[in-house]
Amino acid sequence: MLYAPTYLHIPDGFLTLVVSVIFWAVTIIMVWLAVSKTNKSLGEKQIPLMGVMAAFIFAAQMLNFPIAGGTSGHFLGGALAAIVLGPWAGILVMTAVVGVQALLFQDGGLLVMGANIFNMGILTAVVGFGLYRLVVHQKRGLRLAVAGGGAWMATMAAALVTALQLWLSGTTRLEIVLPAMLGVHALIGIGEGLITVAALAYIEQTRPDLLNAEKTAREGGRGWVVGGVLITLAAVFLSPLASGSPDGLERVAENLGFLGTGQDAPYQILPDYTIPFLGETALSTILAGVVGAALVMGLLVLVGRNLQRRSEV
């Protein structure tokens, strides 16, 4: 198999003109900024580097690994590119990748390419790099853990915004497609995160100069941290709000009678994604999202500490 398409590449015809134009405008501004920043700060040497790195992202997407039952992990690479090359160069690399995917493989449309670049190139760079930049001066284990979490979060943010764009265009019903998109990409994102971590660990071992903290910090300022954290928070707040009505899985369970008779699983900390004593309000859903995100971050820090200890031994 040469190339596996994912549900993040929107084809032409699925977005209305207004939505396409809005995201083209945002994308053009960001890409223009990226071009002028890289032209100013980097020499012409950087251009072959970015081109070969774009080819790398493309080729690395073929490194599928078997998980179970025919599904396989898949690699988008936006977060990895932004962390290693810097956010602006990462955006340019992903723009080239998405553009060639649309032109050569017809994976993603031309008129909607602005939206596709925004989802897979800009969002992933802001979230992936922003979260990594937050901990760039910390210990290795923590950095790797946050990079993995950032890559997962970037995939989720891309899936969320894709679902929103389709909904805004009147192509889909949000309450059906959003849970489906987020569910599928929660799994895909795990593969993304783990490969990002393993690749970064390998690069750090063989070419530590590429992941030098000072160099990374120079390539993108504090603004990226703010952007990354804001988008992460927005995604955490928005997802439960948007799928506030009973989501597909729950409806299936409800109608099959699982919810009535089934026992609560012992590991279900936040039943129904709400805090019990707050009742089923939007506030409660949001709080549940925040608590969930805090739990994930806490887990990441713990895993990072653990990795750190092991690498010191």
Partner: protein, 264 residues
């Protein structure tokens, strides 16, 4: 893998192949734009658009059904639009009780779904035709003429050139994994999921460092051959009167499609 797998149609000769790439890009984008502008359910206009597409297919000497055969690539995404059938606007057409959920398809929802599918199907075909009749370096050059930043077009040119080199590198790495993964019949090999992930991650890292170091060598080689920040071409890309004619006729047809779509 060789670059030929994309170029097998680009070197044939036809009226479409010999058009200026800029004109082809403009007409393709205008065609997709026109599809996006058509209102839902304007079947006649979609029909005219399809006729335009067939005509372009015919003029490209690739066969009438050339793009039709390859357009199935866009099908999987249609699943996403299925939920549009159950749009609450419009008259219900019936009730489908699936046992675990009740779906109510409506007439407006069905029309919307069919229109989205038609738009997408027509648009992907013109993109297929554009790529099949234009050599990729010409396409990049056209984009440069259409004011895409040179930094970006150069990156895309490098991406295209090294895509095939690095893909072969991937095949080498995958072959190396296969060669070291002997397993007995009936016994599942390969270690735990974590181990497999770590191996894949190391493969990605390995590929990265090899690509990075290769780009260093490429740069040195290019410097010594007079590289000054952009790629030059000997193809003059001059728009001739025939190209203008095609552009004007296409624009007129697209206007006609819009008229048919909005008035009839």
């Amino acid at each position: 893998m060789h670059v030929d797998i994309f170029d097998q149609f680009q070197f044939s000769e036809s009226k479409v192949h010999s058009l200026d790439p800029r004109i082809k890009v403009l007409v393709a984008v205008a065609f997709i734009l026109s599809n996006a502008l058509l209102p839902d359910g304007s079947w006649l206009a979609f029909g005219v658009a399809w006729f335009f597409l067939l005509l372009a297919n015919d003029l490209s000497n690739l066969g009438l059904g050339f793009t039709l055969k390859r357009s199935v690539i866009a099908l999987p995404f249609a699943v996403v639009a299925v939920s549009a059938i159950f749009s609450p606007r419009g008259e219900p057409l019936g009730v489908w009780d699936l046992g675990f959920m009740t779906l109510i398809p409506t007439d407006a929802g069905l029309i919307r779904f069919a229109s989205i599918l038609l738009r997408s199907w027509l648009s992907v075909q013109i993109a297929i035709l554009l790529v099949a009749t234009t050599q990729f370096p010409d396409l990049i050059h056209a984009l440069e003429h259409l004011r895409l930043p040179r930094t970006l077009t150069t990156i895309i040119a490098f991406l295209f050139r090294y895509l095939f080199v690095l893909t072969n590198e991937v095949f080498r790495i995958l072959r190396a994994r296969e060669a070291r993964s002997a397993r007995l019949p009936g016994v599942s090999g390969g270690g735990s999921l974590g181990w497999r992930l770590k191996t894949t991650g190391s493969m990605a890292g390995q590929l990265f460092t090899r690509s990075y170091e290769r780009s260093d060598r490429i740069y040195q080689a290019m410097i010594s051959r007079g590289y000054a920040g952009h790629i030059r071409t000997l193809n003059p890309h001059r728009i001739q009167s025939r190209d203008w004619l095609v552009l004007i006729v296409s624009a007129a047809v697209l206007m006609l499609i819009q008229l048919v779509g909005w008035i009839l």
